[in-house]
């Protein structure tokens, strides 16, 4: 186990260096969520009621997971494949899962840091309450990061170049924005549509984040959302295992 962590850490540390040197990706990962906080602050009318707080938590968590985790994992996996890095790493001692986990490491760390920062800034500037159950929020972030990393790896299967991810990521972004209630709130959707939307990838993450932050939900009471998320993760992982392209020639 220690060896697995050591190998993943070593590869993940290199990914952090690469993220730091990729100005475009760094801008997307760090400044876009902070810009969102600024936008939320400027749009706020001075009071933060429950609905407004729920909207802010949903919007921020969704944006961070999509633009920090999903986008960095997708870009990194396609770039490393194009450079032949993934193929070369497979000739070494690291297992496939370790190589792919390392790709998700920087995005996940940055996403968690952003949400913590959001909690602090939100409390001071936006009047947001402290998370009611931080464990549920953390579970939402971790499972959300894993799920969106898996979805990013699946998107990489159909992305030939780093440039093409701007296009190939659109269906996933659309599904997450619409299904997660970021464009039209869930409770404003027709009932049938709302029922289907609960099963889209981002919806259970946002529900967990909202109830964990603003409610007093215990972890045991969130089994439905966690089950949906685990379903996405297991199904996606199986698809990644069978279809992921490690080499640009494959």
């Amino acid at each position: 186990m220690t060896a697995v962590l050591h190998r993943t850490y070593s590869l993940g540390r290199a990914e952090v260096l690469l993220l730091r040197r990729n100005k475009t990706l760094l801008f997307t990962a760090v400044l876009v969520p902070l810009g969102l906080v600024a936008a939320l602050a400027s749009a706020q009318d001075g009071r933060t009621d429950d609905n407004a707080a729920a909207g802010m938590v949903s919007m921020f968590t969704g944006m961070v997971l999509l633009f920090v985790v999903y986008y960095t994992v997708l870009s990194a996996s396609v770039a490393r494949r194009e450079e032949g890095v993934l193929q070369r790493l497979r000739t070494g001692e690291a297992a496939d899962a370790e190589i792919l986990s390392a790709l998700a490491l920087p995005g996940t760390v940055v996403a968690i840091a952003q949400v913590v920062l959001f909690g602090v800034i939100g409390a001071v500037v936006l009047g947001l309450p402290a998370p009611g159950n931080p464990v549920v929020v953390l579970v939402a972030l971790l499972l959300g990061a894993v799920m969106l990393s898996v979805v990013a790896l699946l998107t990489a299967v159909i992305s030939k170049t780093v440039e093409s991810v701007q296009i190939t990521s659109l269906p996933v972004l659309a599904l997450c924005f619409l299904g997660g209630g970021l464009v039209v709130p869930m409770d404003s959707m027709p009932e049938n549509l709302s029922r289907v939307a609960q099963f889209t990838p981002l919806a259970p993450v946002l529900e967990l984040a909202r109830t964990g932050w603003l409610g007093t939900a215990e972890l045991a009471g969130t089994a439905g959302q966690i089950g949906i998320l685990l379903g996405w993760i297991v199904l996606g992982s199986l698809l990644v295992r069978s279809s992921f392209r490690w080499s640009p020639r494959a």
């Binding site: 070593s10 450079e83 193929q87 070369r88």
Partner: protein, 312 residues
């Protein structure tokens, strides 16, 4: 136990293309085995299977006694691989890339030692994307050496390099082999195969068409005497049975199993007949002549041109 044992290997792509068609070869410890062939001959397809990056369609592959895919853990810490594409992130520096690799290994040699072995100490802080082609290849080799491998797999390690860079890499490989490392080398440079290979196999269209030591492969082919034709007729009485004289363009070409004896006869014939022999050239049998002979004997109309191109 052989470092590599390949038996009846075939590899067919999803498209139906047969890249490797039933080849067998072994690589002993402390030996360099060269897989020589044109582009598309099946060298990299074979290397991918031996490196455990692709499964064979049929046949068996054992690396250091293990299946390279199913027993990946037992194999990878004892092998080093240099792929054609390099495969190190261009934004990392030399030292960062080597440290990253060392961090994935159970018992790596110190990063500084590997970098020193390939003479890149003064380039440690340079981003990989800023290195020259030769420096990048040496870095690839440094990474492959980190685990003190028993088997080194090198896929076209010097393609695109200048003569000096190529020599430096050859010297490094020879030093490793002297230390007992087995090397599986693919190349389309005849000079490289001649310089490094203890044994070699020539691949053509997925099949091994010649194999053995360099001397064994070369011995099955004939030396060549060539001159500009000034009289419009072949030399009379200079050939032993089984030897051939041909006209290639404006040249007369004699292929012989005994260069010294036949050359003497040609010179005497020219002296006696008063025939000038412009552009006279005598070439002993070599890997190049073997290669060209294989080109002539193939049934593929495009292959001879490809084979001739790589011998230039």
């Amino acid at each position: 136990m052989n470092a590599v044992d390949v038996r009846d290997l075939t590899r067919t792509y999803k498209s139906g293309a047969e890249a490797v068609r039933g080849i067998s070869f072994q690589v002993a410890p402390g030996q360099v085995f060269g897989l020589l062939g044109t582009n598309g001959a099946g060298k990299t397809s074979t290397m991918d299977v031996v490196a455990g990056l692709a499964a064979p369609t049929s046949g068996t592959v054992r690396v250091l006694g293990h299946d390279p895919i199913r027993e990946r853990r037992a194999v990878r810490h004892r092998t080093g691989v240099v792929l054609q594409s390099g495969g190190l992130p261009g934004e990392l520096t030399v030292a960062e890339a080597v440290r990253m690799w060392a961090g994935t290994m159970r018992a790596p040699r110190p990063a500084a030692e590997a970098i020193e072995a390939v003479d890149l100490v003064d380039r440690m802080g340079v981003p990989i994307k800023s290195l020259s082609g030769g420096e990048r290849r040496r870095l690839d080799l440094a990474v492959a050496l980190l685990g003190r491998p028993d088997l080194l797999m090198l896929d076209e390690p010097t393609t695109g390099l200048d003569a000096e860079s190529r020599r430096r890499i050859w010297t490094l490989i020879r030093a490793l082999v002297d230390g007992g490392t087995a090397v599986l080398l693919t190349t389309h440079h005849l000079e490289e195969a001649e310089e490094l290979s203890d044994e070699l196999a020539i691949l053509h269209r997925g099949r091994i068409v010649a194999e053995g030591t360099l001397d064994q492969v070369v011995a099955t082919y004939r030396a060549e005497i060539r001159w500009g034709d000034t009289v419009g007729r072949p030399p009379a009485g200079v050939l032993d049975a089984g030897e051939a004289v041909e006209t290639e363009g404006r040249h007369v070409v004699v292929r012989t199993g005994s260069l010294q004896r036949t050359l003497g006869r040609v010179l005497r014939w020219a002296e006696d007949e008063g025939v000038a022999l412009p552009e006279l050239r005598a070439t002993p049998a070599s890997l190049e002549t073997a290669f060209l002979a294989l080109a002539r004997s193939t049934d593929d109309a495009t292959a001879p041109r490809q084979l001739e191109e790589i011998t230039r």
